[in-house]
């Protein structure tokens, strides 16, 4: 049996605000419980096959960036387990743990904030190689030049500082830094959102070239559905900390099953197909993750909401060979 390359199993990540002095006193007196936890990621299971590109989409606050950070080990999960090549990462120690942390690399949204402004590009990209002694000292420079060339940066830039580059070039530096340690899994958190339109296409092409050349696996997090549809093999849609639908990109975009996926896909503007259309907005606001609605979290905004949706949280169930959705419209018929 082939092992799953990467898996998040029943993963949750909570955040709790630090209680104020008054809150601590009141709690100590037994008058109230601890403050409610914000469930940024709430019981998510996601399996990723080797060589696959999985797109993760959702709106601000849905937990997609938190999930990306849990996947890379930057944040430990509050519950659940992360598996890398079949082994739970919490059980990895020493060399094995380092190997996981190096093989799973992250590319961040903001190329301005994620590069140390006091380091030259050559140092930035070669730092992990030096620190972890991944290649002999005298080969660090050569490896660094190699990845810079691969991401399309002029080698004359090695001695420059991040502020001397444009946003697109900085994102290339961020990608080069991730590639320098020869990862097999890249977790990309909104990697093109901060870039200009004509630069976005360049960086997306770079991601696709790199994947093909190196046979990488991607978890590609973005709020831009057009980009995700383009680059992904499979797509997962998140709402208030949970995956509400997952399936192959082609199938999911052609025929979204969950009402939230439908609303989201309907809202994508297009320069090609639609002109001066009448917008049909999704009603209401994203509820607070501190107090999510009971039952299905989407029910207050859903045009198909039924009584059961207010009470029972729909599980993510398989609705066709390569598609799962968490919606009573789809789950009731099967479970009855």
């Amino acid at each position: 049996m082939s092992e799953t390359f990467f898996e998040l199993r029943d993963v949750s990540r909570y955040f709790r605000s630090k209680p104020s002095l008054t809150q601590r006193i009141v709690t100590a007196l037994g008058r109230t419980g601890p403050p409610p936890a914000l469930r940024a990621v709430d019981d998510v299971t996601l399996r990723i096959r080797a060589g696959e590109v999985v797109g993760l989409v959702g709106e601000s606050g849905c937990g997609k960036s938190t999930l990306a950070r849990v996947a890379t080990g930057i944040l430990p999960p509050s519950a659940g387990e992360v598996f890398y090549k079949g082994r739970p990462v919490t059980e990895l120690t020493g060399k094995d743990r380092l190997n996981y942390l190096l093989k799973v690399q992250m590319v961040f949204q903001d190329p301005y904030a994620s590069l140390n402004p006091r380091m030259k590009v050559g140092q930035l990209v070669g730092e992990a190689l030096r620190v972890h002694k991944l290649v002999p000292k005298n080969e660090v420079g050569e490896r660094t030049r190699g990845v810079l060339k691969e991401v399309g940066l002029d080698l004359g830039y090695m001695d420059r500082y991040p502020h001397q580059f444009s946003g697109g070039q900085r994102q290339r530096i961020g990608i080069a830094r991730a590639l320098a340690v020869e990862p097999d899994f890249l977790v990309c958190d909104e990697p093109v959102s901060a870039l200009d339109v004509s630069i976005q296409a360049q960086v997306i092409n770079l991601f696709m070239d790199v994947r093909e050349r190196r046979g990488l696996t991607y978890l590609f997090v973005s709020h831009d559905l057009g980009v995700v549809r383009h680059i992904s093999d499979r797509v997962a849609i998140m709402y208030l900390g949970r995956i509400v639908e997952i399936g192959t990109a082609a199938e999911l975009f052609a025929k979204p099953a969950h009402p939230y996926s439908q609303a989201l896909i309907r809202a994508i503007p297009s320069a090609v197909t639609r002109r001066r259309r009448a917008f049909t907005p999704l009603k209401g606001e994203l509820p607070s993750a501190l107090s999510p609605p009971p039952g299905c979290a989407f029910h207050p905004r859903c045009e198909h909401a039924m009584p059961i949706c207010r009470e029972v949280r729909p599980p993510l169930v398989q609705i066709s060979p390569d598609r799962s959705a968490a919606c009573h419209l789809h789950s009731t018929s099967e479970s009855v």
Binding site: Q200, A201, A271, R275, F279
Partner: protein
């Protein structure tokens, strides 16, 4: 014949507008001589990348450019009145009344220490001779129009109690209060999620249709413009390189830059295929090439493009600035 006296004299007529940024080594043009008009009730999409001059254009129209920037040439005729010649007092009576602005960050517009009701009422009381109660009623009506329920309770709240999307809707409701003739919206939905963006586009469409308000929608997103605007102007390096009705400009683009932007969209190729990228990046304001500023990234550039700045070509309602434009095409 003087166009100002014809029946469809435009609401806004911008001619030869030039705004420079004064730096120690010279005055660099952020907006480099642009012409366009906006009719009543029309939505004009002003599209460009960072540094193209689209926001400076919006601010220059309402004479809000501060030092070291300066509007040094051109006319901005609003209802036949040249705003460049208007006194500061006159401009104050127009801004927020006949001309309203919406910014990308609504926190720029909203005062954090005043309740929503106080600042919305102020926008009315500043320009109209009505009582405070009436102003608050008008404010509540405006909130309902942008889809905010329980407006009376909301008016007592402060900006920090609203989510980003709600704040932007408050900013739009405030802009709509005095039923302005013109709204200039600078990337108002760029920071918002797509579902909230679509709510706001819906309100703006309704406003233009129902109250005849003209809108200049400044954005980097051609797709938003395609769905919202009647006409579109594409800016590059401080100039309008192409302008015309949306269908003309998007379906029969004549400027290689417009076509390049359209073709670089993921929607234009099969999933998984390489995107059609525009190589290079926009030149800095102090390092623009000679002749046509796009020529260094253009795959149709000829030797004349380095020598001469292309002058505008007008083909019916469609204008473009290019020495070697895309051939005329029939509608697909």
């Amino acid at each position: 014949m003087n166009a100002e006296f014809t029946q469809d004299a435009p609401l806004l007529d911008v001619q030869g507008l030039k705004t420079v940024i004064h730096l120690p080594d010279g005055a660099w043009p952020a907006v480099d001589g642009i012409d366009f008009t906006v009719q009543r009730g029309e939505v004009l999409g002003l599209v460009g990348e960072s540094g193209s001059g689209k926001s400076v254009t919006g601010f220059s129209i309402v004479q809000l450019m501060d030092s070291p920037a300066e509007v040094i040439a051109g006319r901005v005729l609003f209802n036949n009145e040249d705003l460049r010649l208007a006194s500061e007092e006159r401009l104050r009576s127009l801004r927020g009344n006949r001309i309203a602005m919406i910014f990308q960050d609504p926190l720029m517009t909203l005062n954090p220490v005043l309740s929503i009701g106080e600042q919305m009422a102020e926008a009315i009381l500043e320009h109209r001779d009505v009582g405070r109660q009436e102003a608050l009623r008008a404010a509540a009506d405006a909130l309902v129009r942008v889809g905010i329920s329980l407006p009376e309770a909301r008016l007592r709240q402060y900006p920090h109690e609203f989510s980003g999307g709600m704040r932007q809707r408050v900013a739009i409701a405030t802009a709509m209060l005095n039923a302005p003739d013109l709204i200039i919206a600078d990337e108002p939905t760029t920071a918002l999620d797509v579902t909230i963006q679509s709510q706001i586009l819906f309100e703006v469409q309704k406003l233009a249709r129902d109250s005849g308000t003209a809108v200049i929608w400044i954005t980097h997103d051609l797709a938003v413009v395609a769905e919202l605007a009647d006409r579109v102007a594409v800016m590059y390096s401080g100039r309008i390189v192409e302008i015309g009705p949306v269908d003309e400009v998007l379906d029969r683009s004549r400027h290689p830059y417009t076509l390049g932007l359209l073709r670089s969209s993921a929607a234009m190729v099969e999933p998984g295929q390489r995107l059609n990228q525009i190589n290079g990046m926009a030149p800095r304001i102090d390092a623009r090439p000679s002749g046509c500023p796009f020529r260094t990234r253009c795959d149709r550039a000829m030797s004349i493009c380095a020598e001469q700045d292309p002058t505008p070509t007008i083909d019916g309602r469609h204008g473009f600035r290019c020495h070697n434009p895309m051939p005329q095409r029939d509608a697909a």
